[in-house]
Every structure is written in C-alpha cells, then in structure tokens.
C-alpha cells in the first residue's frame, strides 16, 4: 500500500477504537434492540407483510451485520492510508 502520509500509530489506534465502538452500538441496536428488547413495539410496523421486529430478529439483523463488517473494512483501509500504516 502506498504510504504518502507520515506514520501516526496513535491517531490510527484512536480512530480504530472510535469506529469499533460506533459499529458495535449499531450491532447491539439491530439485534438486541430491534430483534429482542423493542420487538413488540416494532411488530406494529411491518416490512412487506412481515412484522418488523420479528423480521429484524430472523433476517434484518443479519443484513446489517454484513453491512457493518463491510463498512469496517472500508474505513480501516482508509485509516491505514490516512495514518500511514502498512495494512
């Protein structure tokens, strides 16, 4: 990977932690939140013909999990460039 910027391991680690925490908050909200804790409330809404809370528990959360990892990979690659870290 081309490293045009100066190495900044500390900045890299801080950015990584921040990103990790934000993504884990979403991870918690879609599975434990939408799929379990607030399921009854969400079941009043629907996606297609399925109750929304139930759908999150059985299908929706999995799509979001996948999206979270994709975002994480993209962001981390950006950070590696930005902070001059060899990926």
């Amino acid at each position: 990977m081309a490293t045009t910027n100066k190495q900044d391991p500390e900045g890299y680690w801080k950015a990584t932690i921040k990103l990790t925490i934000s993504l884990l908050v979403i991870w918690f909200l879609v599975s434990y939140g939408a799929g379990i804790l607030f399921r009854e409330a969400l079941d009043n809404l629907s996606i297609g013909s399925a109750p929304l809370g139930f759908w999150f528990a059985q299908n929706g959360s999995i799509y979001v999990f996948l999206a979270l990892i994709v975002i994480y990979c993209r962001k981390m690659t950006q950070y590696e460039k930005k902070f001059g870290i060899k990926g």
């Binding site: 013909s49 059985q58 299908n59 959360s61 990892i69 990979c73 990926g87």
Partner: protein, 592 residues
C-alpha cells in the same frame, strides 16, 4: 431402498475431497497449521463458512425454527452476530500476532505455561463436544440414506476426514472446505427456491418470507400465525421464552461463536490483518446465504406440513399408494402426501392413530377442539424432505444428503485441526518438548490428528447411545463465551491484563459455566431454580461478565505484565509493526 442418485453424489463429492487432499499435501508445519499464511480472503471466507456451518446448521436449524417460530431467532442472530465481534475485536489482531493456535496467543500474551495449558483444556473440551455431534450426523446420513449400518457410516466418514486432515493439514482442509461449501449451499438453496415458489409464488425465499401467501393478499406469516394457533400451537411470531432468556442465549451464542477456536484459527491462514478483516466479511456473506434462507424454509415447511399432512387420510404400507390416493381424492378427502410415505421409513415421522379414525390429526398442546396430536415430525425432516415436497427431480434429493455430509465433514475437519495443533504444538512443542525439530513436530501433528479422528469416531459411536448429544453443544458455546473470549479480548484491548488475571478468568469461566450446565442438564436441576431466569444455553453470557470482572480485579492487585508484553500488545494493535519480543515469543521468531 437406496436411491442411486444419493450414491452418485456421495461418491462423487467424496472423490473430489480425496483428490484435493492429494493435491494439497502439506510440506511444512506452517502449511500444516495455517496453510502457509497465504490463503486468499475470499477463499478463506468460503472455507470459514463451511467450517462454521455444521450438520446442525444444515439439517436441523430450519426445522428447529419451524417449531420454535420467533424463539428460533436466537440461533439466527447468535450464530451470525458473532462474526461482527470476530471481525472488529479479534480476527485482525490475532492475525497480526501471527502464530498458529488460540492457546499460542494465550500462552505468549500471558507469558505463562499454565495459562497455555488451561487454554488447551478449554479448546479441547469445546472441540470434542462439538465433534461428537458431527460424527453422529455422518452416521445418521449413512444409515438413513445409503443403507449402511450406523457405525460403518461413521467409519467411512472417519476414513475420509483422516485422509485429508492427516495428509494435508490446514492446507488440505481449506480447499476441501471450499468444495464442501459449494456442495452444501447448492443443496440448500435450490429446494428452498422451489418451496418458496409453491408457498408464496416468489422464487426468492427471503422475499417470499415477507410476502403474501400464494394466490392471496394475506401475509404469509400472518396466515401461518392463524394456521398454527387454530391447531393449538403458540403463535409463530412469538415465543414462550422470557425476554431475559432470549437475550442471554443470543449473547452466549454470539460471544461463544467469536471465541470458538476452530473459527478463530481460520483467520490465521490469511496474509495480513487487512485480509483477516475482509475474510470475516466474506465468511459472513457466505454464511448469510444460508442463514437468511433458513427462517424462510422453516416458515414454509411448517405451513406446508399443516396444509398437506393435517387431516389427511393415512394410507397403510400394505395398500397400493396410487390406487388408494385416487380413491380418497374421489371421495373428496385428502390422501397422505407421497413424500410423507417415503420418509416415514427413516423413522423421522411418526403417526399414531389415537382416535382410530384413520385420519392424521396434527395438534398443538392447547388445541381448541380438544383433539390429541397424532403426528410427530422430527426437526431434521424439513430440510431433508424439501426437494420431494417441492416435487424436484431425483438428482436433487440425493444432493441434499451429500450436502449434509459436506456440512458435517467440513466442521469435523476444522475441529480436528484445533485438537491436533493443541496437542502437537501447544502441549508438546511449546510446553513439554521444546527441543523438537520441525520434522518431529509435523509427525506429532499428524499422529495427533489421526488419534483425534479415532477419538471423534468413537465418541460419535458411543455418544449416540447416550441421550445428551444435542445438550452438550450448550457446553461448547457457554465455555467459549465465558473463558476464551474474555482472555483474548482483554489480551488485545487492555495492556494491564496479566498472567494471574488471565488464569483466574479462564478458571472461573470454565468452572462456573460447566457446573451450571452440568447441574441443570444432568444433575436434576429444574427451570424454576435458574439463576435470574437464564437457561443453561444462555448462562455463558452471565458468567462471562463474572469471569471478566474477577480477571480484571485479580490483575489490578497483582504486578503488571513485563514491558516486553506490553510492547507486544502495542505491536499487534497497529498492522505492520510486529517485531520479536524475547520472552513473549518463547524462543520463536514471529511467523511473519
């Protein structure tokens, strides 16, 4: 009756696995343990998916969801959400650490042979409980569909795994797992597409799941709710489990997944931290292909089962099926479906005509009409019978059996790798016989893999005579969540975590979780004694917090880890900075 297509697919796929084994023979310990650290992220993702999806995921999960409805969500979220934890918290850092096994990380990071040996105990315990179930699955597939006795079936399965695990090590396993993934995903999704078309008119199961029932404007799930409650079952989209319990089981499965050694070691096979992250994403994508289809298959299968079997007139084996079925139809009745009759022989479906009317009544525990249930389906039947229910050609039916075997064998192989490397690398090379040459270690690894295959086979043969095979899986996840996950996590994110803390965390997690599960599964405990209302399946999550808290407490009152270790932790956090750290490496240079 043995279906020629089943034999064709099983022989063909087994031939492919052996061919790959011969091609991918391992030449060094690095190839044997971690496939040379240079597997492409996508390839590793596919191998991880096959490694992860066991006989239980393939054969039982959809059926389990069909019976549990919303309650089945714990498996769907639990077994996929763990990959987010792996990708964000463990995989890239463990790859940056750059060793061979999970106990390797624990032993080096906590500069302690004791910690390493406890981690070996955890890894072996988790892997052996898991592998018994896989071997049982292999035995069932062979005895049910190939007309081979159960024990002979296990022996054939053992022989196949023996060839590619002992010869090829991780390298052989990686490439056979890729082939096994292709077989199993094809065998799973093709019948699902046709079932979806039958029930909802939509070829994509995930869309059929949220769509309307075929030919109506009523939601498929809404109709299913009505159908099952009319028969006295719990509404499909709700559960009888408490919210607390659903939460804890989901969490125990997630953290357990992230801490399972056979999943973690797959991330040692790629070339860098970045590749490990990508690989986790690919793995989850390949897993999601099956896991988003499974709940749809579960709901469709339940609906179809009620539609076709309930109130159907039974046809005895002594009668000619076609003639009798035509006669029942002419009388305005519903004959028992043909797929039911052909699967009845496997013992997965049971009908007991309690009221002697010759009609099959399928009812729940609270049936409004007070009629007793007469039909008992096994949860594995839904995936197995799907192709026939959807009236697919004979070659697809045989493919499902090959898919089930692929799922069981790929998982068994991954577990064997954990067992053999824990013995040859962690116990021998790194603890008791550090003066072994690479050649000797390689030999030891092969002998350990061979011995593990034999033990696993024996476990499969004997454990099936015991009633608790399915129950012990709770052990694997609970123990991984309460012992391995916290020490690995803290080892990366908290430099202050020391040897004493790690040993306390693993010991507390192991002892509390084991005792709790043992007490409630085998010691006569009843559900009203559950701690905080949490079942044994979910308790690993509760004890994970306890073991973590104790580990942190112990660390704070004992000396901080040596500077070299803290430098090592700093290194693995930042890709490309890993250097050798004397004592932390146990006399080895980092495998970079």
């Amino acid at each position: 009756m043995v279906d020629p297509w089943t034999i064709f697919w099983v022989v063909l796929t087994f031939g492919i696995y052996i061919g790959i084994a011969i091609w991918a023979k391992a030449g060094s310990t690095e190839e044997f343990y971690v496939a040379g650290h240079d597997v492409h992220p996508t390839v590793n993702g596919m191998a991880t998916a096959a490694d992860w999806m066991s006989a239980a995921s393939f054969l039982s999960m959809a059926g389990l969801i069909a019976f549990l409805g919303y309650g089945g969500s714990v498996y769907l979220m639990g077994w996929t959400g763990g990959y987010v934890l792996l990708a964000l918290l463990l995989a890239p850092y463990l790859r940056e650490f750059g060793k061979f096994t999970v106990p390797d990380f624990v032993g080096d990071r906590y500069y302690s042979k004791v910690a390493r040996v406890i981690a070996v105990v955890c890894a072996l315990f988790v892997s052996f409980t898991y592998i018994a179930g896989q071997m049982k699955g292999v035995g069932v597939a062979f005895s049910g569909f190939l007309g081979v006795p159960f024990n002979v079936g296990i022996l054939i399965g053992m022989a196949i795994v023996f060839v590619y695990a002992v010869m090829g090590g991780m390298k052989g396993i990686t490439y056979t797992q890729v082939a096994q993934y292709v077989v199993l995903i094809f065998a799973y999704t093709v019948p699902a597409i046709f079932i979806s078309l039958t029930i909802t008119g939509n070829p994509i199961p995930q869309l059929g799941f949220i769509g309307n029932a075929a030919g109506t404007d009523v939601g498929m799930l809404e109709q299913l709710n009505k159908v099952v409650t009319d028969l006295g079952f719990t509404e499909y989209t709700s559960t009888t489990k408490s919210k607390m319990d659903v939460f804890c089981i989901t969490a125990a499965l997630m953290f357990g997944t992230a801490g399972l050694p056979h999943v973690i070691i797959r991330f040692f096979t790629v070339s860098s931290a970045q590749a490990a992250r990508k690989s986790a994403g690919w793995a989850l994508m390949f897993i999601a292909l099956l896991y988003t289809v499974a709940p749809a298959v579960g709901a469709f299968a339940r609906m179809n089962f009620v539609d076709t079997v309930n109130e159907a007139t039974y046809i005895q084996d002594s009668e000619n099926y076609e003639e009798r079925a035509a006669q029942i139809l002419a009388d305005g009745g519903k004959p028992v479906p043909e797929w039911y009759k052909s699967w009845e022989k496997t013992g997965l479906l049971k009908y007991d005509d309690l009221n002697g009317d010759g009609v099959m009544q399928y009812r729940g525990p609270a049936a409004p009409d007070g009629i007793a249930n007469e039909v008992v389906p096994n949860r594995d039947i839904f995936v197995l019978a799907n192709p026939q229910i959807a009236k697919l050609p004979g070659w697809v039916v045989g493919l499902v059996v090959a898919g089930g075997l692929a799922a069981a064998l790929s998982t068994a192989a991954g577990l064997l790798m954990v067992i053999s490397s824990a013995v040859s690398h962690d116990l021998l090379k790194r603890t008791f016989k550090p003066d072994m040459t690479e050649k000797q270690e390689m030999f030891a690894a092969r002998v350990a893999a061979a011995a593990a295959v034999v033990c696993a086979g024996l476990l499969g043969i004997f454990a099936t005579q015991l009633p608790f095979v399915a129950q012990v899986v709770a052990f694997a996840f609970g123990l991984a969540a309460a012992s391995l996950f916290p020490v690995i996590f803290l080892g990366i994110f908290w430099k202050r975590m020391n040897k004493e803390g790690a040993i306390s965390t693993m010991t507390v997690g192991l002892v509390t979780t084991f005792s709790y599960i043992y007490y409630f599964k085998f010691g006569g405990g009843t559900s009203d004694q559950w701690f905080l209302g949490v079942s044994p399946e979910g308790i690993g999550f509760v004890f994970m917090w306890l073991s973590t808290a104790i580990g942190i407490g112990v660390s704070l009152v004992t000396p901080e880890p040596p500077q070299e270790i803290q430098d090592l932790v700093q290194d693995i956090r930042i890709p490309g900075q890993r250097t050798s750290h004397g004592m932390a490496e146990g006399g080895m240079t980092p495998a970079e």
